[in-house]
């Protein structure tokens, strides 16, 4: 590897630029700003998962000053534009999931709102509901379309049937994963304000200003200038504020337009948990064929996701899942089928990882199951099968020189964690009897950064930079800061590109009236893709400043401060990328990031409580623009993955989320978190700025499979599900010991 170039800002462990505001309490989140003029809005929701909506009406007690909007009263198209336009803003004549809004109410204050909500009569005629995946797969209902299949993708490579016929060992397993609630600490919220020009302005806690902008334009039939979306400091999102804010903002917008008043809709926790999108539950049937040396010959995989009642982002989640489900392994022959099917449950949506965590869980569980069958150490089986430069994924992408780092991260994590010794120590400890068992598990995962295939070409992200009179450069991007560090990392990239101190860079709060559409803050694309466009914009600006100030100017960007210079760059892909969306074939992702983790757990066999003790995580991300922030991303993402693997269980009861509060939906406390040891490896990628690739979602992929592997090692029983709760483990332990 060449020596890293001499850099001053990229690679520096700079404290995040918004840290002081946050540690002193000065940062104002949406609910922190007094809004005495705003009315309050709320949705009237269906308690039933499937029903004919007979009527929605005001009773006599409805306060006269309050406002009620039903589907019939909507002053706009009844749709929330996402991947499709099937989701209505309000149910018109059929309710298809519990909590689906059937009306909207606004009132000038809390008491009036409460009275108004109590004075809305909703008449429903209950219909049979399809609540489980099997019923949905049989086409019952149908809930959606003709057969409930919201989307289906296939990948075929080679001749899997012949490969299975020639296999020495065939391994089969079925793996399931559950819902996951984002539980960002700041609940969802927006405030909509009518504009004098008949448009509307949204301020909210959100990830994707232009998704909302588009949803509002589409439904309200407004031109883009009359819709403004501004982001308030956002207290966590993790994908949960990718899709849902479009719904919430549209609700607030129609109420605001109807009342002629600003309307605030800020959720309390229970409404947030009960009504917002979750990670899709999944079930994967996985068959693998191996030769006599433990080398993969073929896979046959059937991946099914529960979409909930409407499309939202499910097809996109599915396609990413399908592309990752064969894992970071060489698989000459493959048959992969992915479907996402509808049920009468709340629509599921984006969650950090976006289809990959469940795919990785199935793939990695299957590799561990295979290792047991083949009598190989799980690390050794992975070593024999992992992809290297020159190998081709099942979907036809060949890894060019320098792209593959599966080998690197696996060997590093084994070494760093002392894997073999820790396994031996755990065995010795367990041989001593007693109620505690220790186990060590390894996992290997990958994540494609940026949109799939030609997605970035289609959205053509745009970035602007502006030179201000004070000599500071303002970054105009629609990528939001939601805790992940965009408002620090992008300035570091700009500073490096411009040769300026980071203090000379300003990050503009995303606002569709001021910043261009750089695309949504999703898909681990901000650093890699938006950062790349930003570098291009910065270089243009530097050229313009030099042209203005002359070659002799010591600090052309300062000298040109009054010139009113701006530069805009649009995403341009490299010419050597080959992708066919219709067959899902080719270069699916421009930059692959790699992660391997070793989890060590302790399990109490009397209670089957699982305690993650240590997680060693090695990630390869091209270039760590800010190593401290990168490590924080890895630790936080890994804990979300670990907890999804054993603690976080969302149950449905009558089609509603049962664990609808923080005391019943369990996220980890500081005592539930392991000690983390993280290493950042860097193989610079030509696709990203200064070699950087995606990171945000990668660490979530490894947590659950690493934990499951460690639990399996501790107890010598197999784990097929995430979360693997103490209840499941205890039942399985009894079966085995009897």
């Amino acid at each position: 590897m060449p020596a890293p170039p001499d850099r001053r800002h990229v690679g520096a462990p700079l404290p995040r630029l918004d840290a002081w505001g946050k540690v002193t309490g000065a940062t104002t989140f949406l609910s922190d700003e007094p809004r005495s003029d705003a009315w309050l809005g709320a949705a009237v929701r269906s308690p039933l998962p499937h029903a004919r909506l007979v009527s929605v009406s005001k009773t006599a007690a409805f306060p006269p000053q309050a406002v009620l909007l039903t589907a019939a009263d909507l002053p706009c198209a009844n749709l929330v534009a996402m991947v499709r336009e099937d989701l209505p803003l309000l149910a018109a004549d059929e309710v298809r999931f519990a909590t689906q809004p059937v009306a909207l109410v606004a009132a000038p204050d809390r008491e009036t709102l409460k009275a108004a909500l109590a004075a809305v009569a909703v008449e429903l005629e209950e219909l049979p509901a399809v609540l489980d995946l099997d019923a949905a797969l049989r086409g019952e209902g149908p809930v959606w379309g003709a057969d409930n299949v919201v989307a289906e993708y296939r990948i075929d490579r080679g001749d899997p049937d012949a490969a299975f016929a020639s296999a020495v060992t065939v391994v089969e397993g079925t793996y399931s994963t559950g819902y996951q609630e984002h539980m960002y600490l700041e609940p969802q919220g927006v405030v909509a304000t009518p504009r004098p020009d008949g448009g509307v302005e949204i301020l909210g806690s959100l990830q994707c200003p232009y998704y909302i902008h588009n949803a509002l334009k589409r439904a309200l039939g407004l031109d883009g200038d009359r819709v403004v979306v501004r982001q308030s400091p956002t207290g966590g999102a993790f994908g949960g504020k990718e899709d849902y804010p479009s719904i919430l903002a549209l609700q607030a917008a129609v109420l605001a337009l109807r009342c002629g008043q600003p309307v605030s809709m800020i959720y309390e926790r229970r409404e947030d948990v009960a009504c917002t999108t979750k990670r899709h539950p999944s079930r994967t049937r996985y068959r693998s064929a191996f030769d006599g040396e433990g080398r993969l010959l073929a896979v046959d995989i059937d991946l099914v996701l529960d979409a909930g009642a409407f499309t939202t982002l499910s097809p996109v989640v599915l396609s990413r899942g399908v592309l990752h489900v064969a894992g970071p392994y060489r698989v000459p022959h493959a048959r992969i089928r992915g479907r996402t099917v509808a049920t009468h449950t709340p629509p599921n949506g984006a969650f950090r990882g976006f289809g990959v965590p469940k795919a990785a869980f199935a793939c990695e569980r299957q590799m561990d199951r295979a290792a047991r069958r083949l009598g190989l150490d799980p690390a050794e089986l992975r070593r024999r099968n992992l992809v290297r430069d020159g190998d081709t994924f099942v979907f036809g992408q060949t890894l060019r020189p320098g792209m593959a780092a599966a080998d690197l991260v696996l060997e590093r994590v084994l070494d760093r964690s002392g894997y073999e010794q820790r396994r031996r120590e755990a065995r010795a400890f367990n041989a001593g009897g007693g109620p505690l068992r220790r186990g060590v598990g390894v996992t290997l995962t990958m994540h494609g950064g940026g949109f799939t295939g030609d997605g970035e070409d289609r959205i053509k992200g745009k970035v602007a930079v502006r030179l201000d009179p004070d000599g500071l450069v303002t970054l105009l991007v629609s990528s939001v800061e939601m805790g992940q560090g965009a408002a620090t990392v992008l300035p570091q990239i700009a500073a490096e590109a411009l040769g300026l101190p980071v203090g000379r860079i300003r990050f503009h709060q995303p606002d569709t009236s001021a910043v261009p559409d750089s695309g949504p803050t999703v898909a681990s694309r901000t650093t890699m893709v938006v950062g790349r466009i930003l570098v291009a914009a910065c270089r243009q600006l530097a050229d313009k400043a030099r042209a203005f100030a002359g070659d002799k100017a010591a600090d052309p960007l300062l000298a040109a401060g009054h010139a009113g210079l701006t530069a805009t760059a649009v995403y341009e892909s490299d010419p050597d990328i080959d992708w066919d969306q219709s067959t899902m074939h080719g270069d699916a992702y421009q930059g692959w990031s790699w992660a391997a983790a070793v989890a060590e757990v302790e399990v109490d066999v009397d209670t089957m409580e699982v305690r993650p003790v240590r997680l060693t995580h090695v990630v390869e991300i091209g270039c760590a623009v800010n190593p401290v922030l990168c490590v924080g991303q890895v630790e936080g993402g890994a804990l979300q993955g670990l907890a999804w693997g054993h603690l976080e269980e969302m149950k449905l009861k009558d089609g509603r989320y049962w664990n609808d509060r923080m005391s019943t939906y369990i996220i980890p406390t500081s005592l539930d978190a392991p000690d983390f040891d993280v290493e950042l490896a860097e193989l610079p990628s030509p696709r990203g700025p200064f070699g950087a690739k995606g990171l945000g979602e990668l660490p979530l992929n490894a947590g659950a499979p690493a934990l499951a592997a460690a639990v399996e090692d501790a107890l010598d029983i197999e784990v097929f599900e995430a979360p693997v709760t103490p209840e499941i483990l205890l039942a399985r332990w009894r079966e085995v010991s009897r």
């Binding site: 995040r16 002081w20 540690v23 700041e186 490590v631 664990n659 406390t669 500081s670």
Partner: protein, 455 residues
């Protein structure tokens, strides 16, 4: 209600509804918006502030309880120019991501370092366990607290001492009457008149009020009644004032030495901000089968001291509960104290909770157990289990199997007692666990205790 308090060193006089949450008083009346609402039920700690030196969840505390007290919020801690070492360490270690939980986490860290110098990593994790963070994985946060602990701590010189406590003055518009008696007699007289809801730590009340499940007309708050606070020795027993906060109970050396199973149970109640407020009396009267501090009281054969204007009586902790959230307490009676006989020397005590997680957890099952070995024979075996029926229960069948059993026969006894325990409990499936798990684990924990007696 007119209340006065010191907030960040400034004396504040306010007129607010008595049950307005301290969180809302800070945010709406004092424009101190650093404390955040993340859950509204004392679960996430984003609203945590320091009240008289202890971390509390301001979303659970009614305004009247802040009267005469000293409150510190994130705004009073430091500025970028003159930061508190905790703030500086959070910035330096990269402990901040989205920032929404950070005011609470910083205050929890501050409260810890005010309480002890150089805490260990496990102590730091324990002290932060009531402050949920979804971004960081906690590693950077723990490191930040370690770093802050090594820095010179700033004295907060401008903090006045709390009190003296006058009573807050009612306002004409108050929608609830709050009685804050200072003597037990006064409390009993108020109670005898009827129509009041008794308040201990207010941690349950805060949730019920916020969700509109209760709307009491009058409250009788015991936080100023000295007689129901503290731990004292009466003959061979420890008498624990019913309104003693868990935080005091945890630190009590007599409880730690003589009643280790109670000590251990108290440590598992919620997390620090709950322990600052919650009380043993509240845990009893509330009558939840999952109350963590209650099984030890049954296992230790404690008596509940009920006091009324008419007199005083004591009821065994076991007989105190009559059904799900139902007790023998009459409406005119207060739980004033719990009288816990100190077990004979050599008594083994144990408490084990299987919760939904390792802190801030409601029990799926918990078990308190006591037994003594005399001449190779098990004596005074008492086992009490929680979350396995409508009330906390003594496992009488299992106890009978063990009583008088020989130590030499422990393995068989453990198996038999475990099987009996599994049979005699009456758990249910609910949002947290299953009937099957609860039965099984009750037996496992019984067996584990019995087996441990051999060592």
């Amino acid at each position: 209600m007119k209340i006065s308090m010191w907030v960040n060193g400034v004396h504040r006089d306010l007129e607010v509804p008595p049950l307005k949450r301290l969180l809302d008083v800070l945010r709406e009346d004092l424009d101190l918006v650093g404390a955040k609402e993340g859950c509204g039920e004392g679960e996430c700690g984003a609203c945590a502030v320091i009240l008289d030196g202890r971390l509390v969840n301001s979303c659970l505390l009614p305004a009247y309880r802040a009267h005469g007290r000293v409150v510190r919020t994130i705004e009073g801690l430091g500025t970028p120019e003159r930061p508190d070492p905790v703030q500086a360490a959070f910035v330096a270690e990269g402990a901040v991501q989205c920032g929404y939980c950070i005011p609470g986490l910083v205050m929890a860290s501050r409260a810890l370092l005010d309480d002890e110098a150089g805490p260990s990593r496990p102590r730091i994790r324990e002290a932060l366990a009531g402050n949920l963070c979804r971004c960081t994985g906690y590693e950077r946060v723990v490191r930040a607290v370690e770093l802050a602990a090594r820095a010179p701590q700033r004295a907060c010189g401008d903090e006045p001492a709390a009190g003296p406590w006058s009573s807050p003055q009612a306002s004409t518009g108050d929608d609830v009457t709050v009685h804050l008696p200072t003597t037990l007699r006064e409390a009993c007289e108020l109670l005898a008149r009827g129509g009041v809801t008794v308040v201990g730590g207010a941690t349950d009340l805060g949730v019920l009020l916020h969700e509109g499940i209760v709307s009491p007309a009058a409250l009788l708050d015991l936080s100023r009644v000295a007689e129901v606070h503290g731990v004292r020795r009466e003959g061979g027993a420890l008498v624990i004032g019913a309104a003693t906060p868990y935080a005091d109970l945890m630190r009590d050396p007599d409880v730690a030495r003589d009643l280790p199973c109670l000590h251990e149970a108290v440590r598992t109640v919620g997390a620090p901000a709950i322990q600052s407020l919650g009380t043993l009396g509240g845990n009893l009267v509330n009558g939840s089968p999952g109350a963590d501090a209650v099984p030890p009281l049954l296992a230790l054969d404690a008596r509940v001291r009920l006091v009324s204007a008419a007199g005083e009586r004591e009821v065994s902790a076991d007989a105190f509960f009559t059904g799900y959230r139902a007790t023998v307490r009459r409406d005119d009676e207060l739980v004033a104290a719990v009288v816990v006989p100190v077990p004979a020397a050599g008594t083994r005590q144990s408490f084990r909770k299987a919760g939904t997680r390792r802190a801030q957890a409601i029990a799926k099952v918990n078990l308190a157990a006591c037994a003594r070995i005399e001449d190779g024979t098990l004596r005074e075996v008492r086992l009490a289990a929680g979350s396995v029926g409508p009330t906390v229960v003594l496992l009488r069948v299992a106890m009978a199997i063990l009583e008088g059993g020989r130590v030499a026969d422990l393995e068989r006894l453990a198996g038999a007692a475990a099987a009996a325990a599994r049979d005699e409990v009456t758990p249910i499936d609910d949002v947290r666990s299953t009937e099957r798990y609860r039965r099984e684990v009750t037996g496992n924990l019984v067996a584990r205790f019995v087996t441990s007696l051999s060592s």
